[in-house]
Symmetry: C2
Subunit: 350 residues, 2 copies
DNA sequence: CTGTTAGCGCGTTCAC
DNA sequence: GTGAACGCGCTAACAG
């Protein structure tokens, strides 16, 4: 109807209609130089009239700055990725930067064999190539789990920040695993627990080891009883939580609380308890890890540790931004996890 | 160390090092014209040696094609958004298109007052402006829930496709709500259920109404008993599922199965059942909607309807792509939901 | 047929 | 306040 599809108006259209040179228009737009109020006024009016927007592409060509960074997500459908991207956006919005998103779609393409780095190297390298071709000023790489990606890609000297994974040579943004499990332990102690078991993730994982450190630290500091049988090795999956919990339940001196290194294994614990007629939290207390959405919908609602994902994304973007600008790297605080208190821990002081 | 930061090599660097003109390099790169094997060989070697990648920015400036589309996500942290983006990526990857991602961050910025369109119009318009400035060839808008966004933004004639929301004037990609609830009902009937209750979402929502249509259609076709008391109006939140379930439990003729219009309300039903000592599925069967991650972690695991999110993203991108190319719009099939059979429905034929 | 020169796209910026 | 060179790659027109 009244809608007119406007052929892209350019700076010279403005110049023509306002009877000035293109240079003047540019000066008005950018305030790069003084322009007499009268001409400025005239130019501004035409600009608004024609709804002119500078062609960022052309600007970039000259300025060699695109204000665009590339985000390589190994898989956007993995639970932590969207929130990290949200943090990246948060910072990017405040600094007028744009995000070119690449999604490696790892889960769908190579299923669970993440360890086979070769299998997806070509995807990752393609992503980097395309991004560089698009003149991004830097990149953020979001992994599907915390692991070493040294040598996976070569950014040819362009800045990159890794998060939810790391390399030996580059900056990476992680969160404080040790503090997190220590905090969970402190909380349990506050609630009167002393015999506390832990179900770890795979032991080739750095987070597993760091969280175990936090556990040991708490055991030492609070002088808790220690029994190696309370340390169970899981593999992050619910099934392992289930199996380990069953073992814990049959111990001569069973723990009064279990700390599972992720919410998924916590579900396994819940299932095992359910099956054995053991009630959570009345008979045994449980803390998960990750604050996955479902942890709030379980019965009982699971107390867990919230990951500072937003902050990680924000810091990653901030760090990258400084690197692009050539500014020195600030020593940012290692993002901390936050205990989300719900209904799966009983206070046994009462 | 051995790492050399290479100043961006351009076509003329190649030309110089290979002793040819830039035109020849361009012809080699694009195969636009015949180049003698010898020179080609020489040029190719230099290109590889210097790891040259054409500057897409410069290419776009001339070709007026950026192969980039803008995705405006109202909120990337909402459960359905990542999977839709994944579908968009899937199509984009196959057609060498790039995604410039904008995240309106609606949840964090304006909390839950989504109905107040004015509150975020400015965010949306900014997003469109920036995207257009970046010369995207089209846009996909991903809503946080299915509602009418007519008049929210003006793309100035540029193609746009909406998904998980719609307008009166533009193309939008939805899924088949009516088929979904009908399918759930058929399944329940197969399992011997005839007295089936439904807990709807807010009734100003189109999905609520369509799903109710599917319910009625099944009631009619299968000649099921009908009692208006079995139709409960919820508001999508767990609390309402809880309240409505309690009402259903106290009916003189209670239903044998409940269909909740989302998994969140299904959790409410589960809680109410738990409290009342009613077992799912032994005493009452339950079907949710959305196949939210947590539905698989509940006890019992909830049978639910999986949303064709990936397909929606794929179709949105496909539709947009055709529009950009000026091709006629194909009539794509309305994506269907898929019943995910788990443990919350009992076969009462046995 | 192969290779080169020169102008273009669009906004910026320097010299006048 | 203006003309024109410039950035980088593409390509029409031209030369050998």
């Amino acid at each position: 109807m009244g809608v007119v599809v406007i052929a892209n108006v350019g700076i010279k259209d403005i110049a023509a209609k306002a009877n000035v040179s293109t240079a003047t228009v540019s000066y008005v737009l950018n305030g790069t130089r003084n322009v007499s109020p009268k001409t400025r006024e005239r130019v501004v009016r035409v600009i608004e009239e024609l709804q002119y927007k500078p062609n960022v592409i052309a600007q970039s060509l000259k300025s060699k700055r695109t204000n665009t960074i590339g985000v390589i997500a190994e898989d956007v459908t993995v639970f932590h990725t969207p929130e990290i991207i949200d943090g990246i956006n948060d910072y990017a919005d405040r600094h007028d930067m744009h995000i070119l998103l690449t999604n490696l779609r790892l889960h769908k393409r190579i299923s669970r064999s993440f360890d086979n780095v070769e299998a997806y190297r070509k995807y990752a390298e393609n992503a980097v190539s395309e991004l560089l071709g698009n003149q991004v000023e830097g990149m953020i790489y979001i992994g599907v789990h915390t692991r070493d990606l040294t040598g996976l890609i070569d950014t040819r000297g362009n800045p990159i920040v890794y998060t939810y994974c790391y390399t030996h040579n580059d900056v990476s943004i992680q969160y404080n695993d040790e503090q997190a499990s220590y905090e969970a332990m402190s909380y349990l102690v506050t609630k009167g627990h002393r015999r506390i078991a832990i179900i770890s993730g795979l032991m080739d994982s750095i987070p597993s080891r760091l969280r175990l450190n936090g556990y040991y630290k708490a055991v030492t500091e609070f002088e808790l009883p220690f029994d190696p049988q309370w340390i169970k090795m899981g593999d992050w999956e619910a099934e392992s939580g289930y199996n380990m919990a069953k073992q814990l339940f049959t111990l001569a001196e069973p723990p009064t609380a279990i700390l599972a290194m992720n919410d998924v294994m916590a579900v396994g614990v819940l299932r095992a308890a359910n099956e054995a007629g053991i009630r959570v939290p009345e008979d045994i207390s449980l803390i998960g890890f990750d604050n996955r959405e479902f942890s709030d919908y379980l019965i009982p609602r699971i107390t867990t540790l919230d990951l500072p994902l937003h902050q990680m994304g924000y810091q990653a973007m901030q760090t990258l931004h400084k690197a692009i600008r050539g500014l020195p790297r600030e020593d940012l605080q290692l993002p901390a996890c936050r205990l989300v208190e719900r209904d799966s821990v009983r206070n046994i002081n009462d």
